[in-house]
Every structure is written in structure tokens, then in C-alpha cells.
């Protein structure tokens, strides 16, 4: 088995380049914040950032000047405020505008599915009567080849240069296991040319093989696996740590003021040097209040006749 373990620094510097189409995925759960911070630290520029739900990590990447184009479906900070770096970049009169390409959730997910499946496009039931096709020429209406009386919208396949996702655990050869809310991680991993997976812990392959149905991305589809505990903070990793809602609530104030944002990025991304430095700055007992009460699943029997 190939050992695909990388340090976070090496994974990002070897697999992510200026100008790449990079998908950072995770649907509220398991957002690869540590990887986003490493991209900022390395000063990677001119990225097309793909993310179904650009949130704080996207706001940070835009605020740090790494992104020239954003492909997305919903950009917001749940119900606790706005993402001001993104808004400053796309609203009228922006001084450093970025390009945007806008979908709905299933529209963008279907692009990953088509990309992962190697088909040119995917039909979906949405968009009739919406203004979205008017601002995004990738949303096209076609006639069914099977019935001239039926039309459907289609979205084109998307194959990002790199997918970056976070998961609970993997073995050294990159067999990735995840549970809880799964997001589009499996789809984007298969759609992308290269895939980096950050995990809370690298475990013995016996642990993975004790529960193979839990593997969402097999090792062959992974280029780099990085052990990065608490790497999804301030989002969460089911069973490891809960969402840091206080941080989410605090973000609007930081991001609203460009100077405050710049200072935050300097202090919490550059000055800390790496993810270990970030955790160190959070402090020893920081995750105590976010530690979940254990609720273990009942094991299942994978046995067979010898």
C-alpha cells in the first residue's frame, strides 16, 4: 500500500498552484479551515474557488486576496451575519472585484456528479422561470432526446484541479472514513484531478477495514492525506468537537472592517506559522466546552464463513 501521508504545508505547496480551480467542500460540517489557512499562508493567488456554500473560510480566502473567481450556490454565515469580504468584492463599486458564477445547491452538486461520472452534463428539474440562467450561461435548457415535448435544464460537468476536504479518519494510504452530515465530499473528490484530505486522525488500516461501508473515498482517489486534528475549527467534526458558534457570531464584526480583517488574518494565520501554532494560540482548554458527549454506534457484523 502506498503511503500518502503529507504534512499540510507539503500537500498544499505540492498540489495547489496559482490559477488553479480549487474546490473546498464541507456542508457546515467538516469544513477544511486549516487547509484554507495554509493556502493563505503560502500566498497562493488567482484561484477559482468552488464551494457550494462559501462561508467564513471563503470570506478569509477572498479577504486575503487569494481568489479571483468564486463558483457557488449560497454564500452566507448561517443566520448570524454577513460575509463582508465577499460582499465588498461583489457589490456595486467594489475596489477589488472578483468574478462570480452562481448556481443552486443541486445545480453545483450535479456539476460535481457529472464531473465524477465522466459524462458531459447532468439534467436537473430546476431553473424554469428563474433569472439564474440569464446570468449564468452554464444553465442550459435542452429538449429531451426521448420526447420532443419534454425539456430539461442541464449543467456541465465540473472537474476542479484540486479538491480539498476534511474527514474524521483515514489510514496512511488514504482510505477516508466519515460520518454524520456528509456534504458533497465524495462527489467532489471523484470529480477533481487531485484530492487532498485532512483528517482528525490517521488510524491503523485495521480500524478502517473493521467498517468498510464507512469509507466514503477509497485510497486510490486520494493524492494526499494529512493528519490535522481540530483542522475543521470553527466548524465541527462529529464525535470529535462541536461547532464553535461563538466564533461564527463574532465573524461579522471582524469581516465588516477591512483593517480588522487584515489584522485577524495576520494574527491568526500568518503569525501563528502553522496549524499547531493556531491551536496553541487558541489555548490548552479551548475545546473543552466543544467536546461532545460520546454516543457510540452499535457494531455490525461483517463476518463470513471461513
Amino acid at each position: 500500500m502506498t503511503n500518502k501521508q503529507f504534512s499540510l504545508q507539503d500537500a498544499v505547496s505540492e498540489l495547489v498552484s496559482d490559477g488553479d480551480v480549487v474546490a473546498l467542500e464541507g456542508f457546515t460540517h467538516l469544513i477544511p479551515f486549516a487547509a484554507g489557512h495554509e493556502i493563505i499562508r503560502q500566498g497562493i493567488r488567482d484561484l477559482t474557488l468552488v464551494r457550494m456554500t462559501p462561508d467564513i473560510v471563503a470570506d478569509q480566502l477572498v479577504g486575503a486576496g487569494c481568489v479571483s473567481k468564486l463558483i457557488f450556490a449560497f454564500t452566507g454565515n448561517s443566520s448570524v451575519g454577513s460575509l463582508y469580504a465577499i460582499r465588498r468584492a461583489v457589490e456595486n463599486g467594489s475596489v477589488s472585484p472578483i468574478e462570480i458564477e452562481e448556481y443552486s445547491h443541486y445545480g453545483l452538486l450535479a456539476r460535481y456528479q457529472a464531473g465524477a461520472s465522466g459524462v458531459p452534463f447532468m439534467p436537473i428539474r430546476s431553473y424554469a422561470g428563474s433569472d439564474l440562467p440569464g446570468v449564468n450561461p452554464n444553465l442550459k435548457r435542452v429538449t429531451s432526446p426521448f420526447d420532443s415535448e419534454v425539456e430539461t435544464y442541464v449543467v456541465p460537468a465540473l472537474n476542479p484541479d484540486v479538491a480539498i476536504v476534511h474527514a474524521q479518519r483515514a489510514d496512511a494510504s488514504g482510505n477516508v472514513q466519515s460520518w454524520g452530515i456528509l456534504g458533497p465530499q465524495q462527489e467532489v473528490a471523484f470529480a477533481s484531478r487531485k484530492t487532498i484530505v485532512l483528517v482528525e486522525e490517521i488510524v491503523d488500516d485495521g480500524v478502517i477495514r473493521s467498517d468498510p461501508n464507512r469509507t466514503i473515498i477509497p485510497g486510490f482517489a486520494v493524492d494526499a492525506v494529512v493528519e490535522c486534528g481540530y483542522g475543521a475549527h470553527p466548524s465541527f467534526a462529529q464525535g470529535y468537537y462541536d461547532r464553535d458558534n461563538d466564533f461564527y457570531r463574532a465573524w461579522s464584526d471582524i469581516s465588516k472592517d477591512p483593517q480588522k480583517l487584515e489584522q485577524w488574518i495576520q494574527e491568526w494565520i500568518h503569525d501563528v506559522g502553522n496549524h499547531a501554532g493556531y491551536l496553541n494560540k487558541l489555548g490548552n482548554n479551548y475545546f473543552e466546552r466543544l467536546t461532545p458527549v460520546a454516543l457510540l454506534s452499535t457494531p455490525v457484523n461483517y463476518g463470513s464463513v471461513l
Binding site: 456542508f27 457546515t28 460540517h29 456554500t53 457557488f72 450556490a73 449560497f74 454564500t75 452566507g76 448561517s78 443566520s79 465577499i86 460582499r87 461583489v90 457589490e91 456595486n92 463599486g93 452562481e102 448556481y103 443552486s104 445547491h105 443541486y106 445545480g107 452538486l109 456528479q113 436537473i124 428539474r125 430546476s126 431553473y127 424554469a128 422561470g129 428563474s130 433569472d131 439564474l132 446570468v135 435548457r141 429538449t143 415535448e149 419534454v150 425539456e151 430539461t152 435544464y153 460520518w179 454524520g180 452530515i181 456528509l182 456534504g183 458533497p184 465524495q186 462527489e187 465541527f236 462529529q238 462541536d242 461547532r243 458558534n245 461532545p292 454516543l295
Partner: protein, 266 residues
């Protein structure tokens, strides 16, 4: 004296906030429904209230893929860790959007919006022009899918005013059934579109053409007030009722069992 005090206490118990009223109204409208697709907030309260009163079998399905949630605390987001804890199912995204939504399993979808028009088309994208917006809003997310695939849609808007209830949307994110059929008659549609809009002033219901008409006003609100707050010439249903106030039992359930720390009962 004692009687007066008791009366006042009784009155305080029976007075209610706008959120409590909206939750109770939404809950009654859910009677007989089975699967509800909704985000966090008022719809969560409405479904929880329905579960504990009129519709014990009703189930909320979350965009994050969680079905049959039994959260140990009120969730803060649609993908809260507590939704996964003890849930009956967590589906992958292609299953949720492809099979559950597009497959036609959703009876009622709840949506919100910055703007709504008279047929229930919704704007959650921009105020001003898309290319140079005055305000950039979050965008569709799954709203287009919920609109196109639910058997009917309820819209909850806490602020009924002419800026939200507009004659023409700045941007049509999620089209009403009428708008979808007009724009692309050969694209299959499903269900009834927006049937009900619940606001802080009253309840609007769609007539047979899909036009939203005033069906009831909340206690203390006049028809004229609602008309003045609506950006199109609002038509009235044949008989306008006064929205029934939350019952003491509904208030007790909301306050004591469902949201005792008032996460959503603002």
C-alpha cells in the same frame, strides 16, 4: 384584588409574541402533512409543535440530509451536530436532492426570501442589478429545488412591507409555478407552488390561478394595513377571518417543551 391579579396573570399567559403566533399558525397549516422540508428557525418550531399536537407523524427533512431527527437540543444550523445525534437517517447529498426532493417525497417546503411577488416568486439573490448589486444576498442555495419539487410551498416572512412584497422582483431566484410554466412550458413542474404566505400581519393564500390573496389578518391588524404594506393591489379572499390566536396549550408546548431557552421564540 386577588381575582384581578389572577386575571392579569392569566392575561400574561395568554398574550403571545409574533414568533409564537407565526409558529402556531404554521403548525395548524401543517395538519395532515407528512414530510416537511425546512430550514432552522420558525419552521422548526412549527414542525415540533405539530409533532406534539395535531400531527404526531410529521417529519422534518433537512437540506443537510438528516431525516427523522431527534436532536438532544434545538439545532442552531441545518447541519448542526445535534441533528446527526440519534437521527433515523442521514442521507448523502445526491440522495437528498436527487431522490428525496426531485423524486417528489416532500409534501411541504418552507422558504423565506427578501422579496416576494404576487404569484409567490422569490428573490434571495440581490437587491439592485445582479451585475452591480446594491446588496448581495446569499443566493439560491437549495431554494430553487425546494420550489420546483415540493408539492406545495409555505413562505414565512416576518416583515410584511412594500419593500418585501413587490410588484416586480429585483431578481427572480425561485420562480412560482405560474412563472415556471410561462417561461418554459415543456419543463415538467410539480405540485401547487406557493400556496400560503405567513407574515407578521396576516396569512395570504393562493387562489386557483396562483395569485396570493389575503385570507386572514392577525388580531389588531386591519385589511387596509395589509394592503398598504403590499406592493401590488392585494386582492381579498371572499371572507377574511381574524387569525386564531395561539391556544394556551400551544403556548405551553412552545415555551416549556420545545424552546424553553427561547432560541427561536424571539
Amino acid at each position: 384584588m386577588i381575582t384581578k391579579q389572577a386575571e392579569r396573570m392569566e392575561e400574561a399567559r395568554n398574550s403571545y409574541t409574533a414568533s409564537e403566533l407565526l409558529a402556531a399558525v404554521s403548525c395548524r397549516l401543517l395538519q395532515g402533512k407528512r414530510r416537511v422540508f425546512a430550514g432552522i428557525g420558525l419552521p422548526t418550531l412549527a414542525v415540533a409543535l405539530a409533532q406534539k399536537s395535531s400531527s404526531p407523524d410529521i417529519e422534518q427533512i433537512y437540506e443537510s440530509g438528516v431525516c427523522g431527527a431527534h436532536p438532544p437540543r434545538l439545532p442552531e444550523t441545518i447541519a448542526d451536530a445535534s441533528l446527526a445525534t440519534g437521527a433515523e437517517a442521514i442521507l448523502t447529498m445526491p440522495v437528498l436532492f436527487g431522490y428525496v426532493l426531485q423524486g417528489g417525497w416532500i409534501d411541504v417546503g418552507f422558504l423565506g426570501a427578501a422579496q416576494i411577488d404576487r404569484y409567490g416568486s422569490l428573490n434571495t439573490t440581490v437587491i439592485g442589478p445582479w451585475h452591480a448589486p446594491k446588496v448581495r444576498l446569499p443566493g439560491s442555495g437549495g431554494a430553487v429545488e425546494v420550489m420546483a419539487n415540493s408539492h406545495e410551498v409555505f413562505v414565512v416572512l416576518r416583515r410584511h412591507n412594500p419593500e418585501s412584497f413587490v410588484d416586480k422582483l429585483d431578481f427572480c431566484t425561485s420562480p412560482s409555478l405560474a412563472a415556471a410554466r410561462k417561461a418554459a412550458p415543456k419543463v415538467p413542474t410539480r405540485g401547487l407552488g406557493v400556496t400560503t404566505v405567513i407574515t407578521d400581519l396576516g396569512v395570504l393564500k393562493a387562489d386557483e390561478t396562483g395569485e396570493l390573496c389575503l385570507a386572514s389578518v392577525h388580531e389588531g391588524v386591519t385589511v387596509e394595513q395589509v394592503r398598504a404594506a403590499t406592493g401590488w393591489p392585494l386582492r381579498l379572499m371572499e371572507s377574511i377571518t381574524v387569525t386564531a390566536a395561539p391556544t394556551p396549550e400551544e403556548l405551553r408546548l412552545l415555551r416549556e417543551e420545545i424552546d424553553p431557552s427561547r432560541v427561536y421564540l424571539r
